[in-house]
């Protein structure tokens, strides 16, 4: 449990490829581009973190990858094969999601056993006695006693419900697990349990995880690589070490600076002006420029591409990506 988090985790070929995915919504306020031509890949056994604030599109992207929202443009590949817009049952099985709100992600009228056996039977995985033993295995996997199978969601606490949601996602043996803000409605001590559970599942099952979170510390603990999103675009993409010690996009720097610390290491902090703009009202050029402390004239005109920066393997969508401004104070 005290594994050195910076040890390289063995990763394999790409299990998930997101290519130029765009998702648009039509609302009263106008055309809303929630996800703007995003490309990402997830290797087998890897945990990729998706961070950003409200309106950045991370939840929409997650739902799109899960097959709940079809992309307007772009495609998604699973193990090299393109997934069709209307997913088949098998496609769905491969990509599962653990939802954010443990209080609305479980059907209040069904017992835990019903939910699990339904999935097992629909996908032809197990029936009858086999199904029952598989249900018990799943309970053990998420750390609940077998008697939990008889319960209805109302009888469980938030942390326990999150475990049930994880069990449900794992029931169909997915290749990719998408986790949407796994800790946000939970108490601090319960968050630790859930994070430890993910860590444990990851090493036991070797599953690939796409984790969405605004909790940077949790992301630093669990994720091998991190993508930072702002207003529908990926603005920085790099390994854990790169993003947390040598960020090359001013927004990433600002996020790191804004997060409060238990033991602050001091030093000056970057404070952003203003708030995340509404996605229906995109600024010109680089979407971040109105709030950016580093912005210059070119930024309002010329949108920077997500490209490699000098001296690092990370990618950043900033004209000044080659500059190393950040002073890393972590120990």
């Amino acid at each position: 449990m005290n594994a050195e988090p910076h040890a390289a985790r063995p990763v394999g070929p790409d299990v998930l490829e997101i290519e130029n995915v765009t998702v648009t919504f039509h609302t009263h306020g106008g055309r809303l581009v929630a996800v703007d031509s995003v490309s990402l890949s997830l290797s087998e056994g890897e945990t990729l973190g998706l961070v950003g604030e409200s309106g950045c599109g991370k939840t929409t992207l997650a739902r799109c990858v899960t097959g709940l929202i079809p992309p307007d443009r772009g495609l998604i590949r699973l193990d090299g094969t393109e997934l069709s817009r209307r997913r088949t049952k098998r496609d769905h099985r491969a990509v599962q999601m653990v939802f954010q709100d443990p209080y609305s992600s479980l059907n209040p009228r069904l017992t835990v056993r019903s939910v699990l056996t339904e999935l097992l039977s629909v996908h032809g995985l197990a029936r009858g006695r086999d199904a029952e033993s598989r249900c018990r295995e799943l309970m053990a996997l998420v750390g609940l006693r077998p008697n939990a199978l008889d319960g209805h969601p109302v009888a469980f606490s938030g942390g326990q419900r999150q475990r049930l949601a994880i069990a449900r996602a794992l029931a169909v043996e997915p290749r990719v697990l998408i986790v949407d803000e796994p800790t946000s409605s939970l108490d601090v001590s319960v968050q630790a349990t859930i994070l430890a559970l993910f860590d444990d599942l990851r090493s036991r099952l070797g599953i690939s995880i796409l984790m969405i979170s605004h909790n940077l510390a949790a992301v630093r603990f669990l994720c091998d690589r991190i993508a930072v999103m702002y207003l529908g675009q990926v603005v920085e993409l790099g390994s854990r070490t790169e993003v947390f010690t040598d960020p090359r996009h001013p927004y990433t720097e600002a996020l790191l600076a804004a997060a409060p610390r238990i033991r602050p290491a001091g030093g000056e902090t970057v404070r952003l002006r203003g708030e995340p703009p509404s996605p229906t009202d995109r600024p010109s050029g680089c979407a971040f420029h109105p709030r950016c402390p580093r912005a210059e004239e070119v930024c309002a005109v010329d949108p920077p591409a997500l490209a490699p920066a000098r001296g690092t393997a990370a990618l950043a969508a900033c004209h000044f990506r080659d500059e190393q401004r950040y002073v890393d104070r972590s120990r």
Partner: protein, 288 residues
């Protein structure tokens, strides 16, 4: 200072969250069920407990008072009041309950499908609902009865056309909310078919709205059946029906007021019982 912690968490099942437990605790539900139970019992046992057939006339003993032979007296054709009341209960309860079956089933089905899929289906359905709702209920029902004919058959058809809309509306609203919940998204992400999602995940969570509404709707329907009977458009004589009894007893309000009043009281008590059940059910069916 740090510990390796077993991540297993014990689950202590909470007791008393079952439906029957809560049902028994609800005073309204229990009281209502007793009332309706007694009336229904009287209705079912009508042939057994009625001293006379309800249409048996005895023209030598019209408008009789309470006696040992006729506990509640006789009406203007010498028919035994008690017998007619119990047989009328039979007719009115049966017609009332049966009349809402189609509206409930059809309305719930349409409402669920329209609410879940949205789009053009929803738009068309809601426009139809609005058109039907634009007519005052009684105007519509009476109009339909005139078209299709009086009697029990007319009642069933009239309600089938006029009454389904409220169920559709109520269930659609709930469906709109439920379909956005994460467990529905999880069901879709789990590869479950739409039919399965609607049947196992959406409907059980939306139908309670329909059931609770049905309880108050039965009251409405029974009163409407009685009203139609009163107007001569519903259950036809000589079949006993509270409405017809109230109507024919009107002429004798000053002399023998019990002829109209007793059926009236029967209707009122039935309505009360059903309202109590509806109240109680709406509390009990809410998932804690």
């Amino acid at each position: 200072m740090s510990l390796t912690v077993d991540l297993t968490e014990p689950f202590v099942p909470t007791s008393g969250s079952g439906f029957w437990r809560r049902a028994l605790k609800s005073r309204s539900l229990v009281a209502g069920t007793i009332i309706i139970g007694l009336i229904a019992l009287a209705a079912v046992l009508a042939p057994v407990i009625s001293p006379y057939p309800p249409d048996q006339q005895d023209l030598f003993h019209v408008l009789g008072g309470f006696s040992s032979r006729h506990l509640l007296g006789t009406d203007e054709l010498g028919r035994d009041e008690l017998s007619r009341l119990t047989y009328a209960a039979r007719t009115d309860l049966k017609v009332g309950f049966l009349a809402i079956v189609f509206p409930f089933l059809f309305g719930t089905f349409i409402g669920t499908v329209a609410g879940y899929y949205g789009g053009i289906l929803d738009t068309i359905t809601m426009r139809i609902v609005e058109v039907v709702m634009a007519f005052p209920f009684y105007v519509l029902v009476i109009g339909l009865v005139f078209i299709v004919g009086t009697g029990v058959r007319g009642i069933y058809i009239a309600f089938a056309v006029a009454d389904w809309v409220v169920y559709a509306r109520a269930v659609r609203s709930t469906t709109l909310v439920v379909r956005e919940l994460d467990y529905i998204a999880a069901a879709r992400a789990g590869g479950l078919s739409d039919l399965r999602i609607l049947g196992r995940h959406v409907l059980p969570n939306t139908i309670t709205q329909g059931i609770v509404y049905a309880m108050s709707d039965i009251v409405l329907v029974i009163v409407a059946v009685v009203t139609l009977g009163y107007l001569g458009l519903g259950v036809q004589p000589p079949t006993a029906d509270w409405g017809a009894m109230i109507s024919s007893g009107q002429d004798f309000l000053t002399t023998k007021w019990t002829l109209s009043t007793f059926p009236g009281i029967a209707v009122a008590v039935t309505a009360l019982g059903l309202s109590l059940i509806g109240d109680g059910l709406s509390d009990v069916l809410r998932p804690s």
